[in-house]
């Protein structure tokens, strides 16, 4: 059994299908990147996985356990193993950086405040923001906020971390610092599933790349295959359209 097992997953908003039977298996410690044109369902797949958008059919297993997205307890158990970083950071504006990182471990996992704070400070140190602990999100740049958001997700000790276009909302000069942070995570045992338009980065960091289009997986393979000699015509066309950027 693989670490994350997705079988024939479908989802949609009000009758419009967004995911049309996605199947994918991910091993522990893998770095899997989802690419494809906008509207292909990449972000929706992440939202379904974390339980923000309900699936209409299909099955998801994490570590061999089936997830029942209709059951609150099942979703809560899932979220103890899986976390997400959003495109817009979604940091709580009413809390300091430290508060943002410690609140969930304290309130949802029953961690002692002192332990949560020590862990938060260590994580902040890792993302290079140790000195920002007592600032509010709106006092930070976008890149800094996104690094805090990553630290916040890591504070939950997830086995799987979903990264949803985490650099799309940033100024170009801020993208590097966030990518650097992600690089330090890869290969550290945590499973990463990311949606990104930074093709250089995807090619460099991924163990596997998944090409999606119109709510379905078109092709899966190592970066060398997807960017070098893609099998599907749709992948070729997509890579061709952005190859100028590579």
């Amino acid at each position: 059994m693989r670490h994350l097992e997705i079988n024939d997953l479908t989802a949609g908003y009000g009758g419009t299908p967004i995911l049309r039977g996605v199947s994918l298996g991910v091993d522990k410690g893998e770095v899997v990147s989802l690419i494809g044109p906008s509207g292909s369902g990449k972000s929706t797949l992440l939202r379904v996985l974390i339980g923000l958008t309900p699936p209409s059919a299909g099955a998801v297993h994490v570590g061999g356990e089936a997830v029942d997205y209709g059951k609150r307890a099942s979703v809560a158990a899932l979220r103890r193993r899986m976390s997400i970083v959003f495109q817009q950071f979604n940091l709580f504006q009413n809390m300091t950086v430290l508060g943002n990182i410690t609140i969930a471990p304290i309130k949802t996992r029953g961690l002692a405040a002192a332990a949560a704070e020590a862990r938060a400070r260590a994580l902040l140190d890792n993302v290079g923001l140790a000195d920002k602990a007592d600032q509010y999100p709106d006092q930070l740049s976008g890149g800094q906020q996104q690094r805090v958001a990553i630290a916040r997700a890591l504070a939950m000790d997830p086995e799987i971390l979903l990264l949803d276009e985490v650099t799309s909302a940033l100024d170009p000069e801020r993208v590097g610092e966030v990518l650097d942070t992600i690089r330090t995570l890869a290969g550290g045992g945590i499973t990463l599933i990311l949606v990104s338009h930074e093709m250089h980065f995807v090619r460099e960091i991924s163990t596997r790349v998944v090409m999606m289009d119109a709510g379905a997986v078109v092709e899966t393979g190592p970066p060398s295959q997807i960017f070098g000699e893609p099998e599907a015509a749709r992948t070729r066309a997509f890579i061709g359209s952005i190859v100028g950027g590579l």
Binding site: G51, I84, F86, Q88, Q93, N94, K107, P137, D138, M156
Partner: protein
Amino acid sequence: MIERIVAEAPAFFSSANLGFVLAALGRTLFMTFVGCGLGFGIGLGLAVLRRTQAPMLAPARWLAMLWVETFRRIPFLVILIMVLFGVQPLVPEISLIGIATIAVTLVATAFLSEIIRAGLESVPRAQVEGAAAMNFSAWQSFWLVVLPQSWRVILPPAAAFMVMFIKDTSLASHLGVVELTFSGKILVNRGSSPVLGYGIVLLGYFILSWPLGRLARMLEVRLAPSRNQ
């Protein structure tokens, strides 16, 4: 007219009269603060209720909406009279000021719940999703994330509403609640010049309303630019 006022003034501004007006002013404040305070609490409940999505609560949501829409569309005077005749058969011992306070509560609930709802809705959905992804329960998400962020949107108009209602409570004089307006009426009926009797009442309202209005606006200025993304 002027001579009459000048002649009456010394007798009018007796300590007994001033004490009488002051006590009445206290009743005006009581109705406003207690009524709006209760209204805020119940309004918060209604606003939260209307955000829920459970199908089981649909009739309750519908009732909440009915309350809000109804009490914002009936004159306060009519509500006062209806509460007077509706409540006292059930609670005969209730005082007139109690009845007026219930009327204030009913109306304040309707208006304040709309203000609170707008405040809660001003918090971006992404904040709620962030909380959900971090395994917050609905209650934790509301209490720790949504409510703290909506105060700055809720408080200024809520304070302004309360200041406005100080003046609307003058209609309670029709029930015979000896509040500020009624105290003026009594003084005038006892033979005081209407200029003095109602003049002192106007002054009383201004002294209550103006500083509180300023305070509400200061609150707005202080809260408005804070911690925006």
